[in-house]
Symmetry: C2
Subunit: 299 residues, 2 copies
DNA sequence: AGATCGTCTAAAAAAGACAAAAGACAGACG
DNA sequence: CGTCTGTCTTTTGTCTTTTTTAGACGATCT
């Protein structure tokens, strides 16, 4: 059956909203709540019924009032509100990037589904989607072959990334002065400075801002294939950053400084300078990825 | 239920093989047949049982002999041997490339499944896979939006194609002289000459040889992302050639001649010459695609 | 009269069911 | 003793069923 994680997330968000109200306050209409929570009225009704059941709100007739302030115990836990899709992605990326599977290994849909505690259909759908990314291949007679997160994959990924990023950066420099992208670039630059200033505490935010910068630059290509590739890159790097801990802070600091040089180059609109800055950053990122793969895979 | 199109294709291939034998001849062992037909022994056994049922072979004990020469009536028809996947792909590409759906239109999984006479799951799996190609987008709340085979798509496709092909061609020129790719290139060149000589009858074969040439060149990149893109390109062009009939012969002849210039340039290993030939061919292919889209979509 | 609510319908997601296909293993045959 | 065959188990591809969600429409309340 379909999981009701949507309902659970809406329920938690509703508790958050109720925490700001005093006991005895009247709740908004169903339609208004649906708008605020970004779900259908059907879900809102289910949430309200559950809140009444839990004794958080009272529902006499059509007037609903807050009975008591919601507590942490009322909330659904993080594992419950996670969509099946997100669960699978996390588990799978963990498996892949931590080198728990050897390149060339056969992947068994049924076994993975059991291992991740999801239905075979959900697993199958995810594998189908991921087979477009080059991490997996579908065998002609059924079954899946894992191609692996190895040096070859990293090389192929970076070769394309270089091709796309250099093209996008050149196009970015040609954007008219009043294009909103310039303001977004300024904002990203400001946040880079803030992050560097507070690097001891905030270095975890690197993955996010890295994705934002490269997505902004690549958007200048106005090309859906570049966009798709970019989101694959973000996905892989997001999880890669998450689990590769050696020299994490230093590594991120180096990348942030390279970003600043790159941003300055973009703002100068000087083609050779942009190209040089982009290449310098890509080369250092490539080296760092190669090194972490060579270390992670002792085979 | 899973369809037995595999069994039916193996059955037809087996009939083809038997047609070469005289009545009374003994058949190979199951394992040998499985190897020859490229299927499992389970299927071979089903095929042999069906052949005995049809009276084509006799099965007394473990010795099997051919009773009579197979006829056309024994064969399964083309529609029966087509896999569900292939059916969907054909119908969908027909719909897309013939402009039966407007860009931005909502695509309904259930309705498509009914229309194509396949199950919603099979349809859904195909749409999931195709959404990686940029022809479709998945909406956050379920449902699909068709992005369309329009001028934007053609432009984005060709921009990437140009990027990849130029890179691949340059790498191709660096292949060592004893690389098998050169022999394959010679073979493709020979078949180009044969095709041009017999263009009045053979112009239908263009789609196939076009895909072969570009796949060979792009293989020099040794990059799975280039390969994936290349197979998407082949898929789209295959069906596009199939249905765009205006000036078909002339169009193909022009492309074949451009191919020959391109092949000669590759053999010269002269970088600027290769680049010029590739660009010339890509530009003319781009123009021809743009023109056919502008004509096909009167909106 | 206008907003709000209860109920119904349709569509999509997930799970479950089942046939087809692949592969393993032991016994039979030469 | 090696090869071939019969049977069984596992896994995949596809279809069907169940549940969840979105949205529409008329009834109800203020």
């Amino acid at each position: 059956m379909r999981s009701n994680d949507r309902f659970k997330r809406a329920y938690n968000r509703c508790l958050d909203a109720l925490a700001a109200l005093p006991p005895g306050a009247a709740l908004d209409s169903e339609a208004a709540l649906a708008r605020d929570l970004g779900v259908s009225r059907t879900i809102v009704r289910a949430v309200l019924a559950a809140l009444a059941e839990a004794g958080v709100v009272s529902a006499d007739g059509r007037a609903r009032t807050l009975v008591r302030a919601p507590t942490a115990a009322d909330r659904f836990s993080a594992t419950e509100t996670e969509s099946v899709r997100a669960t699978i992605e996390k588990r799978f990326m963990e498996m892949v990037l931590q080198h728990d599977v050897r390149p060339g290994a056969q992947v068994n849909n049924l076994e993975l589904a059991r291992q991740f505690a999801v239905s075979p259909s959900a697993m199958r759908e995810y594998l189908t989607e991921l087979s477009q990314t080059g991490l997996l291949d579908r065998r002609r007679d059924g079954g899946w072959v894992f191609r692996g997160f190895d040096l070859d994959f990293a090389r192929e990924l970076f070769d394309i990334r270089e091709l796309f990023e250099l093209r996008s950066a050149a196009l970015f420099a040609d954007l008219p002065g009043d294009d909103p992208a310039w303001a977004q670039l300024d904002d990203i630059e400001r946040r880079h400075h803030a992050l560097i200033a507070d690097i001891d505490h905030a270095y975890k935010a690197f993955s996010q801002i890295d994705a934002e910068l490269h997505e902004l630059v690549n958007a200048a290509s106005r090309n859906r294939f570049v966009d798709k590739f970019q989101s694959l890159r973000s996905l892989i790097f997001h999880y890669h950053y998450l689990w590769t801990k050696d020299d994490e802070k230093e590594r991120n600091l180096v990348a942030l400084r390279e970003h600043l040089v790159y941003i300055a180059a973009l703002k100068s609109r000087n083609r050779p300078r942009i190209r040089a800055a982009a290449l310098a950053h890509l080369r250092s990122a490539r080296r760092s990825l190669y090194a972490s793969i060579a270390k992670g895979a002792p085979g």
